[in-house]
């Protein structure tokens, strides 16, 4: 299954890049082009890592860490 999803996402991002990037170059939207490329690369890398069962840092843990001082209060409220 890992191979299938890795291949699928590689094909998907290549096709998307081929169709979208020339459009943006033609309209001189360089800022969009940068954001698009970074996001697409991030998405592809994340998919490959997830397919290989690598642990991906969880944003929920980060939010939980930020609000950890309030955890006791919340435990009292939701009891």
């Amino acid at each position: 299954m890992a191979i299938v999803s890795i291949l699928a996402v590689l094909v998907f991002s290549t096709v998307l890049g081929i169709t979208e990037i020339p459009k943006m170059l033609k309209q001189r939207l360089y800022r969009e082009l940068w954001t698009f490329s970074i996001l697409l690369a991030a998405g592809t890398i994340l998919t490959v890592l997830k397919s290989l069962d690598v642990e991906i840092p969880n944003p929920s843990d980060f939010i939980a860490w930020v609000y950890s001082p309030l955890a006791e209060t919340m435990k009292n409220i939701t009891k």
């Binding site: 996402v9 998907f12 991002s13 998307l16 979208e20 943006m24 939207l29 800022r31 969009e32 954001t35 698009f36 996001l39 697409l40 991030a42 998405g43 592809t44 994340l46 998919t47 997830k50 991906i56 969880n58 944003p59 929920s60 939010i63 939980a64 609000y67 309030l70 955890a71 919340m74 435990k75 409220i77 939701t78 009891k79």
Partner: protein, 367 residues
């Protein structure tokens, strides 16, 4: 910049969808655990608490009718603090957008199709969301006008068809534990139906006109959502009792399973689940739309549609990372989501409101 405008009825239906969207089928459980048989009083109290909050949202929008929430924050707080506040708001929207497909696939894989991999369901959900955002806010608003009628169906089903099973003993004794649990329950409910309306702030001031009418639509939408939530919560307690409601994960779904009138009206629960999926899609869509437009305004892009597809890919992958399992999700929702959404849905608009007032005073005093 020319922005597409939506009508006031569309604003109303979007607000209503955004308010009850994800919570209508699950919220009764968390509420019943806190307020026991008095949950219906908490639900009514939430409507009262929500009014001033929605008023603050409306006021902020009415002061800057041409700007979205991200731009309002930059305007009021100044460039740097505004940027940080806006970034945190966009982060909230994007992570919440990742969370919505998880809820849906969790429901489907536990209740209906246990052998389907959750990513298949998430893929369909995220694809639909991405296509909807590519079509634009006008299409989303049209769709919400349609969906709001489905929800009426849910309300009718859960009230009329199950009413033969009502046991009024389930509501007694009233006020057994005093007022404190009721206030706690009302706070928890407002974290699910009042504060998430903050996502509407990416749509409301910028994409609407006729400000006085918009006020009415916002309040109407909120009240309608509150009313539906009230009905489902009241019916869950009346029929299932507060103990079963508190221990089940999807009380409204369980409620619909109780429907059996003759031999014709049985097994209607998936109609209820279907309406929930549709409204859930809407709230996921609103979060994703707010996240995508917010992100593109944050880094100064002209067109948010360019980054929607890569963003959708990230959302899809993160949808199964964001909650490893149900226990994690339950704890996270209880201990983290409540303060998290309160900071962004209540404290941030309140700060904006106060800073805006003080700024206006100082400007007046100078002249």
């Amino acid at each position: 910049m020319q922005r597409t405008k939506i009508t006031n009825h569309q604003l109303y239906s979007l607000t209503a969808n955004g308010a009850f969207g994800g919570s209508v089928i699950v919220i009764a459980s968390a509420m019943a655990a806190i307020a026991k048989q008095d949950v219906w009083i908490s639900a009514l109290l939430t409507l009262v608490i929500g009014m001033p909050v929605v008023w603050i949202y409306w006021y902020l929008g009415s002061q800057y009718p041409e700007l979205t929430f991200v731009e309002i924050m930059k305007k009021i707080f100044g460039r740097w603090i505004g940027w940080v506040a806006a970034a945190s708001y966009v982060f909230l929207c994007l992570t919440s957008a990742c969370r919505q497909p998880w809820y849906l696939s969790n429901f489907i894989t536990t209740q209906v199709m246990p052998e389907t991999p959750p990513y298949v369901i998430n893929l369909m959900f995220v694809t639909a969301v991405v296509i909807a955002v590519l079509y634009g806010i006008e299409t989303i608003a049209h769709a919400s006008e349609l969906y709001i009628r489905f929800v009426l169906f849910l309300a009718v089903l859960t009230t009329l068809l199950v009413s033969p099973n009502i046991k009024f003993e389930n509501l007694q004794p009233v006020l057994e534990n005093g007022m404190i649990p009721i206030f706690k329950g009302a706070y928890v409910l407002s974290c699910f139906i009042v504060f998430p309306i903050i996502t509407m702030m990416m749509v409301y001031p910028a994409n609407t006109d006729h400000n006085s009418e918009a006020k009415k639509s916002l309040f109407k939408g909120f009240l309608w959502a509150g009313f539906i939530t009230f009905i489902t919560i009241l019916m869950s307690t009346l029929i299932l009792g507060s103990k079963i409601t508190a221990s089940s994960q999807y009380p409204t779904y369980l409620l619909a399973k109780e429907i059996s009138l003759g031999t014709i009206f049985t097994r209607l629960e998936f109609i209820v689940a279907g309406t929930w999926i549709v409204t859930h899609f809407m709230i996921g869509l609103l979060f994703f739309y707010a996240g995508a437009t917010g992100l593109s305004q944050l880094i100064g892009l002209k067109d948010h549609k360019r980054i929607v597809i890569p963003l959708g890919l990230i959302t899809l992958v993160m949808s199964e990372v964001i909650f490893p399992d149900v226990i994690y999700q339950a704890n996270w929702t209880k201990h983290v989501w409540l303060p998290y959404i309160t900071t962004h849905g209540l404290i941030l608009p309140l700060l904006l409101f106060l800073v805006d007032l003080i700024k206006k005073r100082m400007l007046k005093a100078r002249y």
